[in-house]
């Protein structure tokens, strides 16, 4: 069996992502959960890089690892301070949930296998100019709608968190 460099990289990224996801669903420590989520998100960014989408990989890292994870830490600190208790992560062991997840996994693999071919390392990076053309061309409406969603989200978060201030 001949294993190429591309396959080794693929398996390394896959194992990192799976380890991060398993940490997210199983740990009871908040910081480990955030680190696991960071591992998972970093592996997704590496996969984007694997497929040759460098800008998307950098955006994923900046937006998620640099933004959402830090926001999560701040939210946990705020909750900890206001509740004066350690934010305890709890999970219930459910055989039904494990069975359902396994069945879903089998269904997804069975349904999608063959639809996505295995690619090799090093896709063609479209470049920032092509991305700009796409956003100001066929995706202009999408860009405007996402901007609207982001604005609505910002206002919603301000309304939700600032409403009950004494």
């Amino acid at each position: 069996m001949n294993i190429t460099l591309s396959q080794v990289i693929f398996y390394l990224i896959a194992s990192t992502g799976l380890a991060g996801a398993i940490t997210v669903v199983s740990t009871r420590d908040v910081m480990r959960l955030i680190l696991g989520l960071g591992m998972f998100l970093a592996s997704v960014a590496l996969y984007y890089l694997y497929y040759g989408l460098g800008f998307l990989a950098v955006a994923e890292l900046f937006l998620y690892v640099g933004g959402v994870l830090v926001m999560m830490v701040i939210a946990i600190m705020t909750v900890h301070r206001s509740a004066e208790t350690e934010p305890i992560l709890t999970n219930r062991h459910s055989v039904g949930a494990a069975v359902m997840s396994t069945m879903l996994f089998a269904l997804l693999v069975f349904g999608l296998s063959g639809a996505v071919p295995v690619t090799t390392l090093g896709g063609q990076d479209p470049g920032i100019a092509a991305l700009g053309d796409a956003f100001l061309g066929v995706f202009l409406a999408h860009l405007e709608i996402v901007g609207g969603f982001l604005f609505i989200g910002l206002v919603a978060v301000l309304a939700i968190t600032g409403g009950e201030r004494e």
């Binding site: 896959a14 997210v24 996969y47 989408l53 509740a83 934010p87 999970n91 989200g153």
Partner: protein, 99 residues
């Protein structure tokens, strides 16, 4: 092992996390795992099958990324708000919160 198996495993792990977690942070993180897996599958499908070119795939990925960040911000805002009001961070206890 193809990308389909990886994404299916990640998505199933996220679903499992949503079902077994009782705390809001854990459920939110599990939803992020599901969303990341689905986005990765979409990008992998687009890049592998040649349905769309790289720029369009990247644009769709960025749109999904922005929506996911908005969802995370609203979820964390709700968590902070409810925890401030009731001092609770567990979902089954939040069912008792009124107002």
């Amino acid at each position: 092992m193809s990308i389909v198996v990886v994404c299916a495993a990640l998505f199933s792990l996220g679903v499992y996390g949503v079902m077994v977690r009782r705390d809001v942070i854990g459920i939110l993180a599990s939803i992020e795992v599901m969303l990341g897996a689905a986005t990765l599958q979409l990008v992998a499908f687009a890049m592998s099958s040649g349905v769309a070119d790289g720029a369009r795939t990247e644009a769709v990925g960025l749109v999904i990324l922005a929506l996911a960040a908005t969802e995370a911000a609203i979820g964390l805002g709700l968590l902070v708000s409810v925890a401030r009001r009731s001092g609770r961070g567990r979902l089954d206890e939040m069912a008792e919160v009124e107002g």
